[in-house]
């Protein structure tokens, strides 16, 4: 006895439009990774983070004012405009 089921399409399918909620999962990913970094310092107090602890001192004295967060925001905005220009120019 056989069960009639719908056969699979057997081709790769991908939507053209990006679902509006997809970015939420990226944000969740960032939040989790940040919380794991915090957890690391709780579980291993006094132990430096691998790789990151070597990189951070390179930037000490550079980003030591809150203004850099604002400048970073502006740079993201400018790159978003440039990215949009490049994307639209090459999309055809």
């Amino acid at each position: 006895m056989s069960i009639n089921t719908t056969d699979s399409v057997d081709v790769f399918l991908q939507g053209e439009k990006e679902p509006s909620g997809s970015w939420i999962f990226i944000v969740i990913g960032f939040v989790f990774s940040l919380s794991f970094l915090v957890l690391y310092s709780i579980l291993y107090p006094g132990q430096d983070l691998p790789v990151i602890s070597d990189l951070v001192p390179v930037f000490s004295g550079v980003f030591d004012s809150g203004i850099w967060f604002f400048i970073l925001g502006t740079m993201i905005g400018i790159f978003a405009i440039l990215g949009r220009l490049l994307l639209e120019a090459t999309s055809e």
């Binding site: 004295g61 004012s65 203004i67 604002f70 502006t74 905005g77 405009i81 639209e88």
Partner: protein, 556 residues
């Protein structure tokens, strides 16, 4: 005679002569001049003209988009200078790259980027669309307009670099930027004059406001040098304010008045008030801006000396009197804008459409800011100098709450006609407006409160700086960051709109309602829509019938 009246007299006379020549032409030399200018604008550029497109509207589009991008840099420099005023060492790490950030120099860069980069480009770009429309002709050279926009941007970049380090390899950078800027402006003026010379109908007054704004800039430069005003402290102050009134205010008023009709769909309320605005901008001294002529001194470089501003009695009287008169064109402009936008119950276009809010904001705020500036400038001219402490904040307010909203609002209103598409998102434009307005109003008001506190402490001769004042400056600068975000949102919206904005349909095309003599009736419509397009009781409605004859192939 004193400096103020002498310089003003030369300015009025030269402007009258130029206006007369524009109206009457150059007698038998008109055709030769037209041919020469036409050759200079296109053929003389050689292969340079092939670098850009010359499609209708491309010149205006290029200027407006670059002007919007300059908004981001202008707001960013201003924000950074506000931050450094309470935290001078915030960017000390950049010293390792050879850049020592300084609040005053960054504020100067912010002025150049905002006024010359953004406001000027938006006004000139809108002018490239408005003047041909009002003159009933095409722009003389779209290619030249497009190409020159990049020269202008380079000149502003040079000015911004010069504001940080004025002498590089022994060359004074700001005068160099001024020269490049003047060359670009000369090309713009020739292009517009050639367009006006081909006019097929009487040009409405907003077009003259834009043209006078463009012409006054080189005239003032020449007069400042010839009359010696450039080398005199009072003359520098006067030249700065005449530039502010005749170039910036007249230009912004011209594009804003045209856009108020376009944005609302209502006819421009009063021609007399536009005339009053036109004459007022030229005959009076505009009080917006700095209390010194530092920018003029930097622009003229070796031709100008650094002098301490000291007014003689005659200069003081003349300057105070001519500044007080500025309330006439300001009130005339604001009332004309607001009544035009309010209309007479014939507002067919959405009041929420991008550009309307900015135009409304600028029209409301120009009155209190002009009055505030009048008090501060009169205080300086009279030598009392009690309000000097708030001069910088008020000057930034005039830029970000009057000139930028009006020029940006006009550009946003003209955007659909220029690009053939609507903005990408009306919602994003609304957020851009809210962020810019909120950031500028709250950020600058809080900074001004800190200024008042510092002034009170100086008056009481308290030497220690107030901690509360420092905190307020911090809050003010953070709030001003909203302007940066708003600028980014507007720019992104306009750039994306060019590619993905909804295509405009015949129904949504707006037309200028400044002078409508006939209205072509293609399909059935309401009287409200006809009136809203600028028609009045004397407008001739012409029904355009359809042909039922059988068609055939077109003979070539």
């Amino acid at each position: 005679m004193d400096t103020v009246l002498t310089t003003m007299f030369y300015f009025w006379i030269s402007l009258f002569i130029v206006f007369f020549l524009v109206q009457r032409g150059l007698w038998i030399f008109s055709d030769v001049a037209k041919g020469t200018v036409s050759f200079m604008l296109e053929k003389a550029l050689g292969p340079g003209s092939d670098l850009v497109e010359g499609r209708p509207g491309s010149g205006a589009r290029s200027w407006i988009l670059q002007g919007t991008l300059w908004l981001i840099l202008g707001s960013m420099f201003t924000f950074t200078s506000m931050w450094l005023s309470h935290d001078p060492n915030a960017l000390h790490s950049l010293a390792s790259w050879g850049f020592v950030a300084n609040a005053d120099e960054l504020a100067s860069a912010g002025f150049y980027a905002t006024l010359y980069g953004s406001v000027s480009m938006l006004v000139i770009g809108s002018g490239f669309h408005i003047i041909p429309k009002l003159a009933g002709t095409e722009l003389a050279s779209e290619t030249n307009a497009n190409l020159v926009s990049f020269v202008w941007t380079i000149s502003v970049l040079i000015l911004v670099i010069g504001s940080q380090n004025n002498i590089i390899l022994g060359v004074e950078i700001i005068p160099l930027g001024t020269v490049v800027n003047s060359v670009a402006l000369l090309a713009v003026i020739l292009n517009q004059l050639l367009t006006v010379s081909n006019r097929t109908r009487k040009m409405a007054l907003p077009g003259w406001l834009i043209l006078i704004a463009l012409l006054s800039n080189p005239l003032l430069s020449i007069i400042s040098i010839i009359s010696g005003a450039a080398d005199d402290s009072v003359g520098q102050w006067l030249s700065y304010h005449l530039f502010g009134g005749a170039f910036f205010f007249a230009g912004v008023a011209g594009v804003a008045l045209y856009a108020s009709s376009i944005a609302s769909g209502n006819p421009l309320w009063s021609k007399t008030l536009v005339g009053v605005t036109l004459f007022g901008t030229v005959l009076t001294i505009n009080p917006f801006g700095d209390i010194h002529g530092q920018m003029v001194m930097e622009a003229f470089g070796p031709l100008a000396e650094n002098n301490v501003v000291a007014f003689s009695n005659q200069d003081m009287l003349a300057a105070s009197f001519l500044m007080a008169l500025v309330s006439i064109p300001v009130f005339a402009f604001a009332s004309n804008m607001l009544v035009t936008m309010r209309g007479s119950d014939a507002f067919v276009d959405s009041p929420d459409y991008p550009g309307n809010a900015e135009l409304n904001l600028g029209s409301w705020l120009i009155v209190p800011i002009a009055l505030g500036s009048l008090f501060v400038q009169t205080d300086t001219v009279s030598g009392t100098s009690e309000l000097v402490g708030i001069a910088d904040s008020l000057s930034v307010m005039a830029g970000w709450l009057v000139l930028v909203p009006l020029s940006l609002g006009a550009a946003l209103s003209l955007y659909p006609e220029l690009t053939g598409r609507h903005l990408f998102s009306n919602n994003r434009a609304r957020w851009g407006y809210l962020m810019m307005t909120g950031g500028a109003i709250f950020g600058l008001s809080i900074t001004m409160i800190a200024d008042f506190m510092d002034m009170a402490l100086v008056e009481m001769m308290v030497e220690d700086p107030s901690a509360l004042s420092e905190e307020l400056r911090k809050v003010g600068s953070v709030m001003f960051y909203g302007v940066v975000i708003g600028s980014i949102l507007h720019s992104l919206n306009m750039v994306t709109g060019i590619f993905r904005g909804e295509l405009i349909t015949a129904d949504s095309v707006k037309s200028s309602s400044i002078s409508v003599e006939s209205y072509s009736l293609v399909t059935s419509t309401t009287v409200r829509k006809i009136l809203a397009s600028g028609a009045n009781l004397d407008t001739e409605v012409i029904p355009t019938g359809e042909d039922d004859e059988k068609g055939s192939a077109t003979k070539l």
